[in-house]
């Protein structure tokens, strides 16, 4: 097969452009299976069970325990690489929904999540809560706390979805999901209609309503559900709120849904009315999520370098406290509220002065430009841990097997590590550069959209914002790593 022929085989003739993952050999065939998600969720569920058991019953030392190692090193790394290379693959295989799926065979909630909670504020609060708890309780150093956190996560997911219809946990509550939604705006693939004219002629709208069949008593039963996150494929734009569940792919009677390639982050330069999302320029909660995503990336990396421990110790002395929680809380408020307010406020006021734009409205419109650079910082940070500890799971798995009386994996080979810090450094810089370029390009698009006559007036202040974030990230990554759980 020639290269052109191979390329064309990956594209549906009705497809809008690019590659369709559903037509990629093996992967596409797997994704088209009705039970594909269940298979992935079951595999992840079994892994989660193993992590909980090892976290509770295995070695207390974090580097010897699968719970701490696989969650905080490998899962986080795989998560961001999956988002970078494909899309929201973790949500696709999310095991948290397995108990929910079982429960829904027994009961079907009809109540909707209260209107006041149908926004991203709860998800933002929980995302901040997760980041705070991670630092405060040193989750990365405690297998037991990690196991309990996994169980608690399952419990909350089950309880929310047991009481409320649809997928409110995924759409509004899940902090990892909110992270994934923002990060996946930078992904190279999205679920979308192949041919919108086919959708215009569709009378059943199975992609959102689900496919139904007649049942006993003259009623109908859903044999394939539609999108539980209220994303109607013809007016769905980009990856926001999309869990890659493939329900719409299976439900569409016209085989008119693809997982198509696209320009990463391009969706953030557009502002149509998106199904299930609305106009993103009117979503203050969504813009705030992007701000927390970007500044949270710096904050999460912040806690691993020596100068920050010195700062924390100095703060504790000044405050006369021995409480790490108090010091951390101050740092979190500073990093996620005060600093963004100052930096983004200064940029928007500068734009307002030269263009007459309303500052707050302008911030909401341009905050989305932070998503790529934020993702670049997350990638740089998590890739460090993932790549330097790439093979460490082998001896830990060998140890876990041996401790369980299974010898077939052999004696733990503790010499297995990963790439050297020196080898990972250029990769980290590459991710930062990628994110920064994405943010700069996106900012230019937004400036052209909102200030067509003089885009530079809006571009320059926001370019400086991105340059500042890049500078802060470079400084953080250039510091010698100090992995610490204590500083007081």
């Amino acid at each position: 097969m020639t290269t052109d022929a191979a390329r064309s085989a990956l594209r549906d003739p009705r497809g809008s452009r690019g590659v369709d993952l559903l037509r990629v050999p093996l992967l596409g065939r797997f994704l088209r299976l009705r039970r594909a998600r269940l298979v992935a969720q079951t595999a992840m569920g079994l892994l989660a069970l193993l992590l909980v058991l090892h976290g509770l019953l295995g070695p207390e030392l974090a580097p010897k325990n699968l719970a701490t190692l696989l969650v905080w090193v490998h899962w986080r790394g795989a998560l961001v690489f999956g988002l970078l290379l494909l899309g929201n693959v973790f949500c696709f295989g999310c095991p948290l929904l397995l108990p929910r799926e079982i429960a829904r065979r027994l009961t079907s909630p009809v109540r909707r999540l209260p209107g006041a909670l149908r926004n991203k504020w709860t998800g933002i609060a929980l995302l901040v809560g997760v980041l705070f708890t991670y630092e405060w309780l040193d989750l990365w150093a405690s297998p037991r706390a990690t196991a309990i956190a996994i169980l608690a996560y399952f419990a909350v997911a089950l309880l929310v979805d047991a009481f409320f219809a649809g997928a409110p946990f995924c759409k509004w509550i899940c902090p990892v999901g909110q992270f994934n939604f923002v990060a996946s705006t930078f992904s190279p693939f999205e679920v979308r209609a192949k041919d919108r004219s086919t959708c215009e002629g569709c009378a059943t709208k199975d992609c959102i309503k689900g496919r139904r069949e007649p049942a006993a008593g003259g009623e109908e039963r859903i044999v394939q559900r539609g999108c539980e996150l209220a994303l109607y494929v013809p007016s769905k734009v980009g990856n926001l709120d999309c869990t890659f569940c493939m329900d719409c792919v299976h439900a569409c009677p016209h085989d008119n849904v693809e997982v198509g390639s696209r320009v990463p982050a391009d969706e953030l330069a557009l502002d149509p009315v998106r199904s299930g999302v609305g106009r993103i320029t009117k979503r203050v909660d969504l813009a705030a999520l992007v701000v927390v995503f970007a500044f949270g990336a710096l904050l999460n990396a912040f806690g691993m370098v020596g100068p920050v421990f010195d700062l924390q110790r100095w703060m504790a002395e000044q405050l006369g406290t021995r409480s790490e929680g108090v010091v951390l809380a101050i740092l979190f408020v500073a990093a996620l509220v005060v600093v963004p307010a100052i930096v983004l406020g200064a940029a928007s006021l500068a734009v307002a002065r030269t263009t007459g734009a309303a500052p707050f409205r302008h911030v909401v419109r341009f905050a989305y430009s932070l998503a790529p650079i934020g993702f670049g910082v997350w990638l740089a940070h998590y890739s460090f841990h993932f790549l330097t500890g790439l093979w460490t799971f082998v001896p830990v798995a060998q140890l876990a097997a041996r401790d369980s009386g299974l010898t077939f994996l052999g004696k733990p080979d503790w010499g297995m590590g990963g790439l050297s810090e020196a080898a990972v450094w250029p990769i980290e810089i590459g991710f930062l550069a990628l994110g920064t370029l994405g943010s700069i390009a996106l900012t230019w698009r937004l400036a052209q959209r909102d200030f067509a006559d003089a885009p530079a007036r809006a571009f320059v202040p926001w370019f400086l914002v991105h340059a500042s974030i890049l500078g802060a990230a470079l400084w953080l990554l250039a510091q010698p790593m100090e992995m610490r759980g204590t500083y007081l």
Partner: protein, 137 residues
Amino acid sequence: MTTQRGLRGASALALVALLGLAACTTKSTEATSAASVAISFDPAPHVGATTCTVKLSDDGGAPLAGADVSVRGDMNHAGMKPVLADLEEGEPGTYSAPFTFTMGGDWIVEVDGKLADGSPVKHSVDVRGVKRDESGS
């Protein structure tokens, strides 16, 4: 409707019980030896090479010679390759080997071995706040 409420209540109770069980689970502690174990590093722990010395003595303070001793250093964060060293006996009851702290941060150093009579030696010590030398060594 009653069935649904019952199921939800049961699932909530089951989850609370599961979390409670997790919180109450006790960990088995590693066996420790009757020998007294003292670990020291020269120079003091910093990022770079040191010599790790382990002194073993009995209840009366007499050195325990002829033991087979190794140490293992881990960072408290998962994902880092451990530092392993087999110690050699110099003076009776004193065992040492080169040991390199590969990164700044909090370390846990574990001593593992067997005394001459075959009884096990297990001991661990937290080495907190290992820093990079200003000299860059």
